[in-house]
Symmetry: C2
Subunit: 221 residues, 2 copies
């Protein structure tokens, strides 16, 4: 039994390591996507799109390891909940990568960016979203329910940011019809950042699930 | 042993029933969201938003049942893969509900809809997306890898639809600055339909995972 427990702990450590790796890549993807957008760095945008495949591969690795752990170690109660939470968190983090990829793609379609004012609207929102991803993954690694709660609260800030950016972009479109196509891409960037905030919040809610076996009452995913 | 196998089969049947129920609700949510959008039916939009909570609750029920099945029945190999796939599919179907909710919310913000031409652009795309959800869930229920493949192929059609609607909406914005705010909402509707197609594709790819233990090589989630 001693041996089995030790083997399970090793497996879980590996599983958590994979999730931490995914979280780090997702956080970098958000930051890089904003950099590529603001600077018009197409090479960086290409890199984000290519790197997303690594996130997909890691998620698949998490799935396989989780299945192996459950099959070989037959974990019970809290241990089983932790493996299930890892499976779900891997899926959410992979989607954060997808949203970053979408931001990178939108950025490549912004025309005449030197004269395109709305670029200055989103970086602050991007920073908060990336920070939410970072804090959600930290809360996961540390099983920190307090930090998880902070992430859930911050989501409202991102939602408000989004609303004001949306209004700004619509006015900009009305005043600058020639930039409507680029402004539409910026609408998607803001929307994707808002979704990244939602998904970081989902991770925070799942940290709660892993710790307590129940989603917070205000969970919405 | 006979008893355990029978109990497991009963559990799996219940799990698949919950997923089928989620799939049915998600398909209806997509159709209702498009109806509410086109007809400007705010009451229906409210209903979609309220019903989404049921999908969230069903997902949480699937999670709990899956954990209970794994803990009590200790399924192996294919059986375990099926339980894991159910967990992941429930998460994806719940997100299809979220996208439908987003479409319903966008629809409520379309102004002066009688004169708003772009409303006619999306219903055909909505039908294909709803059909993809239907077929993906049918493929899951029937473990039908061929139908799953068809869903994956159809996704390209939805993507092309989205590209052409995006171009149409941008031209419409340029020509009708007074409707830009409504047209921006339509951009989100088209984008959400495109995401619904992606998620139906993910379910189809997971049907493949449940059947074979591997994602298709062209999987992208």
């Amino acid at each position: 039994m001693e041996h089995t427990v030790k083997a399970f702990d090793e497996d879980i450590t590996k599983l958590r390591g994979l999730i931490a790796q995914m979280g780090g890549m997702a956080e970098v993807a958000v930051q890089n996507a904003m950099d590529a957008l603001v600077k018009g760095d197409d090479a960086l945008a290409e890199k984000i799109i290519a790197d997303d495949k690594k996130l997909d591969a890691l998620e698949s690795e998490v799935d396989k390891l989780a299945v192996r752990i459950i099959a070989l170690r037959a974990p019970m109660a809290d241990d089983l909940r932790e493996v299930i939470a890892a499976l779900k968190i891997a899926g959410v983090v992979e989607r954060i990568g997808d949203y970053s990829k979408a931001i990178a793609k939108a950025g490549r379609q912004i025309e005449d960016r030197k004269k395109f004012g709305p670029l200055t609207l989103v970086p602050a929102m991007g920073e908060i979203a990336a920070e939410m991803v970072h804090d959600a993954m930290t809360a996961y690694a540390a099983r920190d329910a307090v930090l998880a709660r902070e992430v859930i609260v911050t989501d409202e800030k991102v939602d408000n940011f989004y609303e004001s950016i949306f209004r700004n972009l619509v006015s900009h479109m009305v005043e600058n019809p020639s930039t409507i196509s680029s402004a539409a891409q910026m609408l998607f960037v803001a929307r994707n950042l808002e979704r990244i905030g939602d998904h970081a919040t989902n991770v925070a809610e799942m940290v709660h699930f892993a710790a307590t076996g129940a989603y917070p009452v205000d969970a919405d995913f």
